[in-house]
């Protein structure tokens, strides 16, 4: 083998011999290929479980599919009929407004309570650890159980809450049948169920927060309030946005509480959009119309989430 010396004095193989040496595989490319191999089963599942049903949903939203009328299956003669109905349906419009109120109040109050409780429970103590576990109970209960618990609490005949108030001489109307209170009855139950989720996320982030930040601020003479507003909150920004987005999306999916507690009533005071869509599909068999409502709802949720992220950013606390 002939050798030549390069400018740096290193020995190199002659060009014709270099050509004979088999080029080594690029490890980065191999790794990437391996990742793809690992990912494709997940993609297949995603396509089968999510994408195909979503596509089907979109497709049938362009038909007047009514299960009691087989001739409406795959009838694309008036593809926009359901979307035109959406524009005219005042009960649906009302459900959008109910949804906005429900989402706004549940997410806002859950974020505030979750943050406050996380701050309170953020210290190392066995007593507080036990308390944290207790706070998590509502979140881990099946939603139907949560709904039944609140149904009992809101039903005057069997409610310990009503008995106690009656014993004290106060007659409180049934919250779930009072139009002023029915939505708040749902909001209260939803907050009870889900603020621990926000608390848990914030608590996890707080426990990762370097203590030096707080110590440094204190040395500089910052008050507790200032430390919270200028140090803790900016640090938590990313987590808060993720938690709020989770809760926002979940609030749009709110169903068991409404189904069990109020059935959308009294009247349509607690009838949110997905509940209305459910009724159209499963009580009245209007699958085409229900699909159109669902497609609209999904689109609105995606746009809303994207807008929030664009507006607030993902949180650059660490920058």
């Amino acid at each position: 083998m002939s050798l030549r010396v390069d400018a740096g004095g290193q020995k190199m193989a002659a060009p014709q011999e270099q050509a004979r040496v088999k080029p080594a595989r690029d490890p980065a490319r191999n790794r990437e290929r391996f990742y793809w191999y690992c990912l494709w089963p997940a993609f297949v599942v995603l396509i089968v479980v999510t994408l195909i049903p979503t596509l089907y949903l979109i497709v049938i939203s362009f038909t007047p599919l009514d299960l009691t009328r087989p001739e409406t299956n795959w009838d694309f003669s008036t593809p926009l009929v359901n979307y035109n109905l959406i524009l005219e349906d005042s009960r649906l419009h009302n459900s959008f407004w109910v949804q906005i109120k429900l989402s706004f109040w549940t997410v806002t109050i859950q974020m505030i309570l979750g943050f406050l409780f996380a701050l309170l429970l953020n210290s190392k103590s066995t007593y507080l650890e036990a308390l944290r576990t207790i706070f998590l109970i509502p979140m881990v209960l099946p939603p139907i159980v949560v709904a039944i618990i609140w149904k009992v609490l809101y039903t005057p005949d069997i409610s310990p809450f009503h008995w106690a108030l009656e014993g004290l001489g106060f007659v409180v109307p049934s919250l779930i049948t009072d139009p002023t209170w029915a939505l708040w009855a749902i909001i209260i139950a939803d907050i009870w169920e889900w603020f621990p989720f926000v608390m848990l996320m914030i608590l996890a982030a707080l426990q990762m927060m370097p203590e030096e930040y707080i110590e440094a601020a204190r040395i500089d003479g910052a008050s507790v309030w200032q430390t919270t507003v200028y140090i803790t909150l900016p640090y938590l920004k990313g987590v808060l946005i993720v938690a709020a987005l989770f809760r926002l999306v979940d609030s749009i999916k709110a169903f068991p509480l409404i189904y069990i507690l109020t059935d959308g009533g009294p009247g349509t005071v607690t009838e949110v959009t997905n509940f209305y869509s459910f009724m159209q599909a499963f009580n009245f068999s209007y699958l085409g119309y229900s699909s159109a409502i669902t497609v609209t709802l999904v689109a609105a949720t995606v746009v809303l989430s994207w807008g929030i992220v664009r507006l607030v950013g993902w949180g650059k606390a660490h920058d």
């Binding site: 009514d66 299960l67 009691t68 109905l85 139009p179 009533g265 009247g267």
Partner: protein
């Protein structure tokens, strides 16, 4: 003795020959004889539906609480296991509607709900039972298909008159006053008109912590007699013309009237009551008057745990300016077309609505909504439905006759009634909670109903 010993010794001393031909023949003979004797017994012991699990579903009713008591003997007779699930009325209807629409096989026997009968039978989702009834191998002559009260079959037959279900409940709406004593103490009588009803409610409301009126939340059943009593109607001319007629002064007045009964005289939370809850308010004496099917009225007098069994009184549903229109209906058992156990399902239906079980339900549990004419005509029926000295059996017959003669219940079995009924429910809730008055609520309901009917492809006059 000796000889025997010798023989036996000989036998014992013979080398073990294993299974000799004689031994094999002998054993085979014994086994054949045994098998010959045992086999017919074994065959006789086999049951027709051994290994079958019958899946049934209905909405919750006292009928099923009573029927469950007889399941063990039916399972013993047939060999099948019965798994019958009951849910709240709207939950059952919604689930079954979905199951039937997909022609699934999860259910073998279902309740064909009155308001869904037109929809389910019309769409071909429920099995035609005519071949089962007419097959002598499946149905004996003494089962007597014609013994079912005519009106109760009306909702369960198709356009050709073929049965798709057989009724277990003939619902007849009556008035039940659980604290009749309070009405008497107030110097009043059981009301017979809408005016009297309000007058009585005004006099007794809150007395001894008893609300004057109670109801469940199925307003599209409870409110209609008031709507018709005021001179209104659900549709222009059902089933031919389904144009809703709710934007009339009569319908609005009825909505205001019925909404006030609930809001002024109902117990707290009345708008969320299920059938069971409303019945409980009467059995515990927390509420007094209810207009509802007899099925929910008789337990107030019959159930041992009822605190008002000695004070309950029964009467006809009060009438309005246009007359009295007590609701009547029927619910029946049917077989989903997707069922994989149709013969077992038919065996169950045949048994559950047979004369024997119907009679025992009446005799042992006081179940009143009997659909068999031969039992309704019996002395037993009259005796059982004489409650606190009142002839409730006659009330029952009168209501069924009223509904059957004039056909005013036809509105209820049109395929679109589920969605139309929802609009009425919501309108009454809005009126009872003061969100709207009768005129506004019913006008809005009419608008929504028209949109829904158009969605269903129904031609209407508007």
């Amino acid at each position: 003795m000796k000889a025997t010993s010798d023989k036996s010794n000989q036998a014992n001393t013979k080398p073990q020959a294993g299974y000799s031909r004689r031994k094999i023949l002998k054993t085979a003979g014994v086994l054949s004889a045994a098998a010959g004797l045992a086999l017919p017994a074994r065959i006789g012991y086999a049951k027709e539906f051994d290994g079958v699990t019958l899946q049934g579903a209905s909405f919750a009713s006292t009928f099923f609480k009573y029927l469950e008591n007889y399941f063990p003997e039916f399972e013993e007779q047939t060999g099948m296991k019965v798994n019958f699930v009951t849910n709240a009325f709207p939950v059952f209807n919604q689930r079954t509607d979905l199951e039937l629409s997909t022609k699934g096989s999860a259910l073998d026997v279902i309740n064909v709900t009155f308001i869904y009968s037109g929809r389910w039978i019309g769409a071909g989702w429920v099995e035609n039972l005519k071949p089962y009834v007419e097959d002598p191998n499946l149905t004996p002559d003494d089962w007597e298909y014609k013994d079912f009260v005519g009106g109760t079959m009306a909702a369960l037959v198709d356009a050709n008159g073929d049965p798709h279900g057989f009724p277990w409940e003939a619902g007849a709406m009556i008035m039940i006053a659980s604290r009749g004593d309070l009405i008497e103490k107030a110097g009043k009588k059981l009301p017979t008109t809408f005016e009297e009803l309000v007058d009585v409610c005004e006099a007794i409301n809150g007395v001894e912590r008893t609300a004057a009126f109670t109801a469940d939340k199925l307003h599209h059943w409870n409110y209609i007699p008031y709507m018709m009593g005021f001179g209104g109607n659900v549709f222009k001319d059902p089933p031919g013309n389904l144009t809703p007629t709710w934007d009339t002064p009569e319908v609005a007045a009825a909505a205001d009237y019925y909404g006030a009964l609930l809001s002024k005289y109902g117990p707290p939370g009345v708008l969320s009551f299920t059938d069971d809850q409303a019945m409980q308010t009467q059995k515990t004496g927390r509420a007094n008057i209810r207009t509802q099917a007899i099925t929910w009225g008789v337990p107030v007098a019959k159930d041992p745990d009822s605190r008002t069994k000695d004070t309950v009184r029964y009467g006809m549903v009060p009438g309005g300016p246009a007359g009295a229109f007590p609701g009547s209906n029927s619910h029946g058992f049917g077989i989903p077309v997707g069922s994989k156990n149709k013969e077992a399902a038919w065996a169950f239906i045949k048994w559950a609505v047979g004369k024997d079980i119907s009679r025992r339900m009446l005799e042992e549990h006081g179940y009143p909504s009997i659909c068999r004419q031969s039992i309704i005509d019996s002395e037993l029926f009259k005796e059982t439905l004489t409650l606190n000295g009142q002839d409730v059996a006659s009330l029952y017959g009168e209501v069924l006759k009223l509904g059957g003669d004039s056909g005013y219940m036809k509105y209820r079995t049109v395929p679109q009634f589920p969605q139309i009924g929802d609009k009425i429910n919501k309108a009454i809730e809005r009126v009872a909670t003061g969100q709207q008055n009768g005129t506004e609520a019913m006008a809005q309901a009419q608008e929504e109903a028209v949109a829904d009917l158009k969605k269903s492809g129904v031609q209407i006059d508007l």
